[in-house]
């Protein structure tokens, strides 16, 4: 078994600390412009945020994206898909150039007419908080900066909602097109799904097969804790009813490279965005976007714990028979009674499988000393407490978890409407509640209203979220990326997860600074560099002379 000590230098092994991050693709809707091109609308969201940032900083809005280290066709199982055999959706390493023709080809009739006066549509932005804001396929996507713990994952993921909300506000006054509204959900209820992904840094020494074996039963069942709830069954939602997960019905394979079709429970994209010999980036596509802080927290926290179990060779021996079908059945069973068959003949409920993972994670964390109230790692104990509370409440009655388990919270509202107004599951008002649940405008979005009232529990307050929309997390390379963009907006030509490219004044040569170690480039390591060198040239001289990042 691999040694966990070398996995994330500086982070104690065995618990919930790990380099991680989120990606949220927002649903996009311009009610007064039906049929408007979604890619174009998405680019308007990015452009609006760029304008706002430019006004705030009186300077360049942030940097473009550096595509040098994108390898979307590399498969973690050890091979690459030939470029000419890949579906165009997989070619995420090419800068998408948005032309009217390209928009038309990609996503139906173009509404866009680029003329000389118009700003070119902006597809990509790196933000001063270290995040990436861009157009992914036909949705605006916010990819959070790298963080080291589940609480910060919630904070910088929520910061994405705040970022796109400011763009929504700025666009709301458009007289011709009308407002563009954004939704933190994963399906339109008519057959389309878009993702909210998680990323976790894992040592490359962990065999991929161990990840598949250890994670599959966990991913099949974790929806009961962190599912966001969905009105309608089946991909097109045509069968009336309510289910636990937004995403479950869209999964059709156990393991695979694709993310937009035949979606697999375990995604094998092997794009480490870091030192490739040491790390892999586990790209998790099976989750729901969460408006509930606690559900989001448990999504990251429990997954990090299970990865620690896999690394320590302590993961429970569970193999689910036909996991794809099991995941669908579990999602459709809001009473949590459905059992799934294991290859060893046992039949267990999703709750029972989650309890087995919980017990194993508690034991590992106790053995590693990370879950102690004093002297622990400061996070693992809280994840374990909330996980245990959620499983306990769900086992008693899912209704008792309606203050923090998102699918249970949404269900409480829906059931109340159903019984008050005598509605059937197919009623459009229930479909509306499902969609409007995740509207990012706090006065409209039902989840955000419940958060404001305290009906949904909060883990991070609005002030902290607003700060996280501006500032990067201090303890990863995102700090160097974000501060570089904040401090020298005119001199950062582009940036990516593992590089910042500077354009020194008076020079045509670009200077690419690799940031391939996710736990370097932190505030602790680079703050003095920024403080001592106010001038870009001095900064670069000091940086490139020392290479402290």
């Amino acid at each position: 078994m691999s040694s966990t000590e070398q996995s994330q230098e500086g982070l104690p092994p065995g618990g919930a600390l790990r380099v991680m991050g989120s990606e949220t693709e927002y649903g996009i809707h311009a009610p007064a412009a039906p049929g408007a091109n979604a890619t174009y609308l998405s680019s308007q969201v990015i452009a609006a945020y760029a304008r706002l940032t430019r006004e705030r900083l009186h300077a360049s809005p942030g940097a473009g994206w550096d595509y040098t280290d994108e390898t979307p066709l590399r498969d973690a199982r050890g091979w690459s898909v030939r470029r000419n055999q890949a579906h165009p959706d997989l070619l995420t390493d090419l800068e998408p150039v948005l032309t009217a023709e390209g928009v038309a080809l990609a996503h139906g009739p173009a509404e866009l007419e680029l003329d000389g006066d118009q700003e070119p549509a902006l597809m990509n932005l790196v933000l001063g908080n270290g995040a990436r804001l861009y157009v992914d396929h036909a949705h605006p996507e916010y990819s959070s900066p790298e963080v080291t713990n589940p609480r910060d994952a919630v904070l910088w993921d929520s910061a994405g909602d705040a970022v796109v909300l400011t763009a929504v506000r700025a666009l709301s006054g458009d007289q011709e097109r009308g407002p563009i509204n954004l939704y933190k959900n994963n399906t339109d209820g008519k057959g389309a799904s878009y993702g909210s992904h998680e990323n976790y840094l894992v040592p490359r020494s962990v065999p991929f097969a161990d990840l598949v074996r250890g994670l599959t039963p966990f991913f099949v069942t974790r929806q009961i804790v962190c599912g966001a709830g969905r009105v309608g069954l089946g991909q097109d939602g045509r069968t009336p009813g309510y289910q636990i997960s937004q995403r479950a019905d869209f999964f059709e394979a156990e393991v695979g490279l694709e993310t937009t079709m035949r979606r697999p429970i375990i995604n094998t994209r092997d794009e480490p965005h870091s030192v490739a010999d040491k790390y892999r980036r586990l790209h998790v596509i099976v989750g729901d976007a969460n408006c509930s802080h606690v559900a989001n927290y448990l999504k990251f926290g429990t997954t990090a714990l299970v990865l620690s179990l896999i690394e320590a060779g302590a993961v429970p021996e569970i193999e689910v028979h036909e996991p794809v079908a099991a995941m669908h059945r579990i999602s459709h069973d809001v009473d949590l009674r459905e059992t799934v068959r294991l290859l060893d003949g046992r039949r267990l409920t999703a709750l029972e499988i989650q309890w087995i993972y919980f017990e194993a994670a508690s034991k590992l964390a106790a053995d590693a000393g990370v879950a102690a109230e004093h002297g622990g790692d400061g996070h693992t104990a809280a994840v374990l407490r909330l996980w245990e509370r959620a499983l306990t409440d769900l086992a008693a009655d899912p209704g008792t978890a309606a203050g923090y388990v998102e699918w249970a919270a949404k269900r409480r509202v829906l059931e109340a409407y159903k019984s008050r107004d005598g509605l059937a599951w197919g009623d459009a008002r229930l479909g509306l509640i499902d969609i409007q649940w995740s509207d990012v405008r706090p006065e409209r979005g039902l989840a955000y209203r419940l958060l404001a009232k305290g009906t949904l529990e909060r883990l991070v307050d609005d002030g902290a979220i607003a700060r996280a929309a501006i500032d990067p997390p201090p303890d990863t390379r995102a700090w160097f990326r974000g501060k570089s963009i904040q401090r020298f907006p005119a001199n950062v030509a582009s940036a990516s997860w593992d590089s910042v490219v500077f354009s020194p004044p008076g020079s045509y040569r670009l200077q690419r600074v690799p940031t391939r170690e996710p736990l370097r480039g932190t505030k602790e390591l680079t703050e003095s560099l920024f403080e001592q060198n106010q001038d870009i040239q001095a900064f670069l001289d000091a940086l490139l002379g020392e290479r402290h990042t």
Binding site: F358, G403, L446
Partner: protein, 67 residues
Amino acid sequence: MAGQEQKSSQSRDEIEDVDPGTPAPAPAAPQASEATEGVDDLLDEIDGVLESNAEEFVRGFVQKGGQ
């Protein structure tokens, strides 16, 4: 599972909060009668903000697939 039984009884009365530095979570779920009142409040509040034409809104909310 044995573990489940054991955990269910042992943890019911533990009230959680998260790591230090985060605001305390809202109080635990209220009892049944309070919960019903809470739901009525909830419905009143939501009634006021729901998009007016549900049928049209739901029909118009059409997304392209993504990842």
